[in-house]
C-alpha cells in the first residue's frame, strides 16, 4: 500500500489560464466571475471621505470617550450622455468600523492580499510632529489613508463585489449586526494554530516560502527607512529654523549701522522666509512617508496569505499522515505482522491475541475511516491547489501594483526634493543680493 500523498503545489504551478481571482468564493455569496478592471466598483461609484469630525459618546462599558468620525460620500458615476450629476449619499463611520470591515475581508478572502488600513496610532514620528490621535494634521492624514483604503478595495476585482463592503459604503444603520451575522469570527484561524503550522509544515510551496522571506525583508527595510527618514526630517527642521535667528539679530544690528543697515534688514527678512519654508516641505514629505507606510502594512497582509497557505498545507500533511498510519494499522491487522513497533502490538502479544471476530471488526472500522480519509484528502488537495492558484494570481496583481506605486512614490520624492532645492536657490539668491548691498 502506498502512503497517501500530500500533494505539494509545485507540480501544479504551471497551470495557468485561470481567470484572476476566481476559484475561491465565500460560501454565502453566489459564484461570480471576478470583475474586470472596467466593472469594478471604483469605476461605477465615486467614493470619497470628505470630512472628519470629533465626537463624544459612550462606549461598550458606558464610559465616555472621544473619537473621530469620518464622512463617507458616494455617488454613482453617470455616463456622459446623461449629463446630470447623481445625488450624493453619505454616512459616518469611525475607525473601529473600518477595522471590523477589514477583519471581515481578511477572514472571508484569505487568498487575497487585503489592502491595509492606515496606522491606528501615529508611529515613526519626528519630534515636531504630534503623536496625538486628535491632532488635526494626524486626523487629516488618516482621512486620506482611509479614503485610499476604500478606493483600493473598490478597485480590487474580487473584493469590490463583496456585499458587506457595499453595505459599509451605503447602509449606515444595522451594518455592524449584518457583519456579525456572517459569523466570520468563527472562521478566523487561531494565531496559535497558525504559528504551529509555520514551524511544522514540511513541504510548503517554495514560492510562498520565498514570498514570506520577501515580506519579512520588506517590513524590516521599510521600518528602518521610515525611522531614519524621521530623524533626517528632525535635523533638517533644525537647520532651517536656526536660520530664523538671523532675522532678529540682523534687524537689531541694522539699527546701529548707517550704510549696512538696509542690506542687513532685508537679508534678515529672507532668512525668516527660509526658516518658515521648512514647514510646508516637511508636511508634503509626510504624505510620502504615508505611501511607504501603506506598503509596510501591505507586507503584513502578504504574510497573512502565506500563513494561510502554511496552515492549509500543514492540515493536508497531517491528514495524509493520519491516513498513512491508519492504512498501516489495517495492513498489520490483516496480515498479522507487526511492521513497526507499537505498544498495542506488544501488549497484545504479551497478554493474548484478539479473537478473529474482534480483528475483523477493527479492520472494518479502519477501512471505513480510510475511505473517509481518502475522500477528505482528495478534497483538501483540491482546496489547497485552488488556494495556491488564486492566491498566486492575486499576488501577481499585487506585485505589479506595488512596483508601480513604489516607482511613483520615489518619483514624487524626487519632485519634492527638486522643489525644496529651487526654493532654497531663490531665497539665497535674494539674500546674496541683499548682502551685496551691505
Amino acid at each position: 500500500m502506498e502512503s497517501a500523498e500530500a500533494e505539494t503545489s509545485d507540480s501544479r504551478s504551471e497551470e495557468d489560464g485561470a481567470v484572476p481571482g476566481s476559484g475561491f468564493p465565500p460560501p454565502e455569496q453566489p459564484v461570480a466571475a471576478a470583475a474586470t478592471m472596467e466593472d469594478c466598483l471604483a469605476k461605477k461609484m465615486e467614493i470619497t471621505i470628505s470630512e472628519a469630525e470629533k465626537r463624544t459618546g459612550r462606549n461598550a462599558v458606558n464610559m465616555q470617550e472621544t473619537y473621530t468620525a469620518y464622512l463617507i460620500e458616494t455617488r454613482a458615476v453617470e455616463s456622459q450622455s446623461e449629463g446630470q450629476c447623481a445625488p450624493v449619499d453619505s454616512l459616518w463611520r469611525r475607525y473601529s468600523e473600518f477595522e471590523l470591515l477589514r477583519n471581515y475581508l481578511s477572514v472571508t478572502y484569505p487568498h487575497i492580499v487585503v489592502p491595509p488600513l492606515p496606522e491606528k496610532r501615529a508611529d515613526f514620528v519626528w519630534h515636531k510632529l504630534s503623536a496625538d490621535n486628535m491632532d488635526p494634521d494626524f486626523v487629516e492624514r488618516r482621512r486620506i489613508g482611509l479614503e485610499n483604503f476604500l478606493l483600493r478595495v473598490a478597485s480590487h476585482p474580487v473584493l469590490c463585489q463583496d456585499k458587506i463592503f457595499y453595505s459599509f459604503l451605503t447602509q449606515e444603520s444595522g451594518w455592524k449586526e449584518m457583519v456579525n451575522e456572517t459569523g466570520f469570527q468563527l472562521k478566523a484561524d487561531s494565531r496559535l494554530k497558525a504559528l504551529n503550522a509555520t514551524f511544522r509544515v514540511k513541504n510548503p510551496d517554495k514560492r510562498f516560502t520565498e514570498l514570506k522571506h520577501y515580506s519579512d525583508e520588506l517590513q524590516s527595510v521599510i521600518s528602518h527607512l521610515l525611522r531614519v527618514r524621521a530623524r533626517v526630517a528632525d535635523r533638517l527642521y533644525g537647520v532651517y529654523k536656526v536660520h530664523g535667528n538671523y532675522g532678529r539679530v540682523f534687524s537689531e544690528w541694522s539699527a546701529i549701522e548707517k550704510e549696512m543697515g538696509d542690506g542687513l534688514q532685508s537679508a534678515g527678512h529672507h532668512m525668516d522666509v527660509y526658516a518658515a519654508s521648512i514647514d510646508d516641505i516637511l508636511e508634503e514629505e509626510e504624505h510620502y512617508a504615508d505611501q511607504l507606510k501603506e506598503y509596510l502594512f501591505y507586507a503584513e497582509a502578504l504574510r497573512a496569505v502565506c500563513r494561510k497557505h502554511e496552515l492549509m498545507q500543514y492540515d493536508l500533511e497531517m491528514a495524509a499522515q493520519d491516513l498513512t498510519s491508519k492504512k498501516q494499522q489495517c495492513e498489520e491487522l490483516a496480515t498479522g505482522t507487526v511492521r513497526t513497533f507499537s505498544l498495542k502490538g506488544m501488549t497484545s502479544k504479551l497478554f493474548g491475541q484478539e479473537t478473529p471476530e474482534q480483528r475483523e471488526a477493527k479492520i472494518k472500522v479502519l477501512e471505513e475511516q480510510i475511505q473517509e480519509g481518502e475522500e477528505q484528502l482528495k478534497s483538501k488537495n483540491l482546496e489547497g491547489r485552488d488556494f495556491v492558484k488564486s492566491a498566486w494570481a492575486d499576488i501577481e496583481r499585487f506585485k505589479e501594483q506595488k512596483n508601480h506605486d513604489l516607482k511613483e512614490a520615489l518619483i514624487s520624492y524626487a519632485v519634492m526634493q527638486i522643489s525644496m532645492c529651487k526654493k532654497g536657490i531663490q531665497v539665497w539668491t535674494n539674500a546674496k543680493e541683499c548682502f551685496s548691498k551691505m
Partner: protein, 458 residues
C-alpha cells in the same frame, strides 16, 4: 584728491629712509583751519619748517622708528597730527600696488623640551622697504612671541585698534590643545594678525613689529628683556586704575559717547551672531550624520526588489551625493563665517578697551584741570603739564577717530564678503542637489515612457 596724499620727495627721504608708504608726518599743504590742534597745523603744513627745526629731530627719529603718538611713560612732546592728514594717509595706504611688506605664517612644528611642549610657526617676510636690511626674512615664532608683540603694540598705541590674536585655549568645543584642527585655525589667525598689522598705516612702522619679523630667536629674547622696567609698568597700571576711577567720561566728546554706545550694541549682536553660526554648524553636522545612513537603506532595499531596484539605487545615489554636498557646505562655514565672526567678537572687546583707554587719558587731563582749579598758586607749573596732557588727549582722540573709521570700513567689507560667501555656499549646495535629483527624475520618466509604449503595443 591725490595732491593731499603725496609727500614731496625730499621730505619723504628724510622722514622715512625707505620711501614708500605714508608716514605720520604727511604734510598737508591745506590744513583744515578748524581742526583740533590747529595751532600746530602750520608746523606740519610748512614742510621746510619741519626740517629746519633742530629740536624737532628727536621727533623725526621717533617717527621713522616708532610712530607712537603718546608715550605713556614720558612727558616728551608728541607730534600732533591733523585728522585730515591721517585720513589721506589711510587712503594712500590701501592702494595695493604700494604694499611693500608681505608676510606669511605657515609650517607649524612641534618642539619638545624637558619642561614643555610647544609649537612654533614659520614667519616669512618679503619687503622692499629700506629700513629693512634684507629683502627677505624667515624666522620661527611661538604663540608667546605673538602675545609679546601685541602687548608692545598696545603699550605704544593705547588708542589704536590692535588686531585680535587667537585665544590661548578654546574652552568650548572639544578641540584639544594640540590637535591639527586647532593648530591650523590658530595658524590662519596668526597669519591674519600679522597682515592686519602690516596693513595698518601706523602699526606697520612699529619697531617691535620689525624686530618680531626679522630677529633671530636669541635676538628676540634679549630684546624682550629690555624695554620699560617692571616698576614703570606698574606705575602705568596704577595711573590707569587711578584715572579709571574718575573715568574721563564727563568731558567726553559726543563722538566717543556715540562710539561707546555703538560698540555696546555691536558687541552684543556680534556675540549672538557667533552663537547662531555655531548652532547652524552643529545642526548641519547632525543632519549630515543622519543623511549618511539614509542613502544606504535604499541600496539595501533594492537587493530584495527586481523592478524597483534601479529606482531605489538611483535614489540612494542622489542622497549620497547630497550628503557630500552638505559636507562641503559645512566646510565653507567653518572656513569662513565662523572664524570671521569670532575675530569680530574679539575685536569688540578690543574696541571697548581702546575706548576705555582713551577715557583714561582724558581722565588724567580732567583730574589735573580739576586740581588746578583748586590750587591757584601753582598755576604756571600746572599749565605746562596741562598743555602736554591736552596734546596727549588730542592725539589720542585723532588716532582713535581715524583708526575707528578705518576699522568700520574694514568691518563692513569683511561682513559683506563673508555673508556673500555664506549665500554662495548655500547656492552651490542647492544647485548641486537640484542637478542630482533632476537627472534622476529624467532617467525615471524615460523608463516610464518606455514601459507605457511597450504596454500600448498590441
Amino acid at each position: 584728491m591725490e595732491a593731499e596724499g603725496r609727500v614731496p620727495a625730499p621730505l619723504l627721504t628724510l622722514l622715512s629712509p625707505g620711501g614708500g608708504g605714508g608716514t605720520e608726518a604727511d604734510p598737508d599743504p591745506h590744513p583744515a583751519a578748524g581742526a583740533p590742534g590747529a595751532a600746530r597745523g602750520p608746523l606740519l603744513a610748512a614742510a621746510a619748517e619741519v626740517l629746519s627745526l633742530d629740536d624737532e629731530e628727536d621727533d623725526l627719529e621717533v617717527f621713522s622708528k616708532d610712530t607712537s603718538l603718546a608715550e605713556v611713560n614720558s612727558f616728551s612732546p608728541s607730534m600732533p597730527i591733523s585728522p585730515s592728514s591721517m585720513i589721506n594717509q589711510y587712503k594712500f595706504e590701501d592702494e595695493p600696488e604700494l604694499r611693500d611688506l608681505f608676510i606669511t605664517v605657515d609650517d607649524p612644528e612641534s618642539h619638545i623640551t624637558a619642561i614643555e611642549t610647544f609649537i612654533t610657526y614659520r614667519v616669512v617676510t618679503k619687503t622692499s622697504r629700506g629700513e629693512f636690511d634684507s629683502s627677505e626674512y624667515e624666522v620661527r615664532r611661538r604663540y608667546q612671541d605673538f602675545l609679546w608683540l601685541k602687548s608692545k603694540l598696545e603699550e605704544a598705541h593705547p588708542t589704536l585698534i590692535i588686531p585680535p590674536l587667537p585665544e590661548k585655549f578654546i574652552m568650548k568645543g572639544m578641540v584639544e590643545r594640540f590637535s591639527d584642527e586647532f593648530i591650523e585655525t590658530r595658524r590662519k589667525a596668526l597669519h591674519k594678525f600679522l597682515n592686519r598689522i602690516a596693513d595698518h598705516p601706523t602699526l606697520t612702522f612699529n619697531e617691535d613689529f620689525k624686530i618680531f619679523l626679522t630677529a633671530q630667536a636669541w635676538e628676540l629674547s634679549s630684546h624682550k628683556k629690555q624695554g620699560p622696567s617692571l616698576l614703570s609698568r606698574m606705575g602705568q597700571t596704577v595711573r590707569a586704575v587711578a584715572s579709571s576711577v574718575r573715568g574721563g567720561v564727563k568731558n567726553r566728546p559726543e563722538m566717543f559717547t556715540e562710539m561707546n554706545d555703538y560698540m555696546e550694541t555691536f558687541s552684543q549682536k556680534i556675540n549672538v551672531l557667533d552663537k547662531i553660526a555655531h548652532r547652524i554648524f552643529k545642526e548641519e553636522k547632525e543632519y549630515f550624520n543622519e543623511m549618511k545612513e539614509y542613502g544606504p537603506i535604499h541600496t539595501l532595499w533594492s537587493a530584495s526588489e527586481e523592478d524597483v531596484a534601479d529606482s531605489l539605487k538611483g535614489v540612494a545615489s542622489c542622497i549620497d551625493k547630497c550628503c557630500k554636498a552638505t559636507e562641503k557646505r559645512m566646510a565653507g562655514l567653518s572656513e569662513n563665517l565662523l572664524p570671521i565672526l569670532h575675530e569680530y567678537v574679539l575685536y569688540s572687546e578690543i574696541l571697548m578697551g581702546v575706548l576705555k583707554r582713551r577715557d583714561q587719558i582724558q581722565g588724567e587731563l580732567d583730574s589735573k584741570v580739576d586740581a588746578l582749579a583748586n590750587k591757584k598758586t601753582e598755576k604756571d607749573l600746572f599749565s605746562e603739564e596741562i598743555g602736554k596732557l591736552e596734546d596727549k588727549v588730542e592725539c589720542a582722540n585723532n588716532a582713535l577717530k581715524a583708526d575707528w573709521d578705518r576699522w568700520k570700513q574694514n568691518m563692513q567689507c569683511d561682513m559683506r564678503s563673508t555673508f556673500i560667501n555664506v549665500a554662495e555656499n548655500n547656492l552651490h549646495y542647492y544647485e548641486e542637489c537640484l542637478a542630482t535629483w533632476e537627472s534622476f527624475l529624467a532617467s525615471q520618466t524615460v523608463d516610464l515612457h518606455v514601459e507605457e509604449d511597450s504596454e500600448d503595443r498590441p
